[in-house]
Amino acid sequence: MTTYAFAAALFTIGLAGMALLPNLLRKLLAMNVMQVAVIVFFVSLAFKDGATVPILGQGGAPVAAEFMNPLPHTLMLTAIVVSVSTTGLALGLLVRVRSRFETLNERRLLDRLR
């Protein structure tokens, strides 16, 4: 439950940061926090008491209870890649925004867009 609540807190902080921070770069960082929250949540779903990492060692036939659930790990591998890709593209956008408007402050940007 604590891990879940931790994910919830991270998510809230990230979303709040995206909405309230004035600077676009900071919004982007807050967005990363939010994405990490989802990853934390999923990975914590994979945890099983008394189980090990989902890589088959030497030994007999594997039993489900002995290994962590590999599915959330796989999903989060994908989610991490999505997060990285989005961040990369967002940084590219910010470079362009910065060069065109010479600010990343949302309010000034909106004034200049007008």
């Binding site: 439950m1 609540a5 914590s44 290994f67 990369g88 362009r96 060069s99």
Partner: protein, 278 residues
């Protein structure tokens, strides 16, 4: 961005107040919902008992991969991974469009930092480190089958090796014109793009090849690579991982190069104190 501009500050204050109320509510809601989820670490939870046991118990026999994550990633849910590769390719494509291929320029510009951090120590260290990093990347790729690792991890490592070279040696002019004494190894921006494209084509190509042999899209078991289906799947998975490796390595290169080009050409200062802090 509606039609009425002036009372912005008022609206913003209202929005902040609303926001201040909304976020605690969101947090409370999430926690209330989470209270009903299965306990953390509960081996009897639906997630632990419903679909995943097959991945743990049968993956090695069905796909030949000792790393169950790899088995799920590249085989059971290989379609997700194709999508994921496309996502990262999309990011590279996007940065190319936004930053590098703009301005009516017929060719892509040379990539790299405007002011390489070259110094004797860095130069010497990089000469030693880069080959090691690149080699390790390939190891991570191949070994991903039986240990933590795989195409993504390997690709990122490979890409970071490329970035290291760019940082230290500057733009990769064809033929290494910038530092004639340094043997510049590393693809140009266009080659990075081609790597990324090749990865996607390879991945989807393997999937289509499976269709050509009568299976579903990405059903590697039908490929004529041997008699043991698990072995065939294992081989194909390696091919998949290699394709992912290419796209990730290429895209990491593309992202770094395009952003550095964008900053250089659009005059965004780096580390001059006029950064984005407002």
């Amino acid at each position: 961005m509606g039609a009425s501009p002036p009372p912005r500050h008022e609206a913003s204050r209202v929005r902040r107040l609303l926001g201040a109320a909304a976020f605690p509510a969101l947090f409370t809601g999430l926690v209330l919902g989470m209270a009903e989820l299965p306990e953390f670490g509960d081996p009897a939870s639906p997630a632990s008992t419903h679909v995943s046991p097959r991945f743990i118990e049968d993956a090695a026999a069905e796909t030949g991969a000792a790393n169950m994550v790899t088995a799920v990633l590249a085989d059971y849910r290989g379609y997700d991974t194709l999508g994921e590769t496309a996502v990262i390719f999309a990011a590279g494509l996007g940065c190319l469009v936004i930053l590098a291929a703009a301005g009516g320029r017929p060719n892509l510009p040379a990539a790299g930092m405007s002011h390489p951090f070259g110094s004797v120590i860095l130069d010497a260290a990089t000469r030693i480190l880069v080959p090691v990093v690149l080699l390790f990347a390939v190891y991570v790729l191949i070994h991903g089958h039986i240990s933590p690792g795989g195409g993504f991890q390997g690709g990122v490592l490979f890409g970071s090796g490329l970035i290291m070279m760019r940082l230290v040696w500057g733009p990769a002019h064809e033929g290494g014109a910038h530092h004639p004494d340094v043997p510049v190894f590393g693809p140009s921006l266009r080659s990075s793009l081609m790597l990324a494209c090749a990865g996607i084509l390879g991945y989807a190509g393997i999937g289509l090849a499976a269709m050509a042999f009568g299976g579903e899209f990405l059903n590697y078991g039908t490929l004529p690579l041997g008699s043991d289906p698990a072995h065939v799947r294992e081989l194909a998975t390696l091919g998949i991982e290699a394709a992912v490796f290419l796209t990730v390595a290429g895209t990491v290169g593309v992202l770094f190069d395009t952003i550095s080009i964008g900053m250089r050409e659009n005059g965004v200062p780096i580390g001059s104190g006029r950064g984005p802090r407002e």
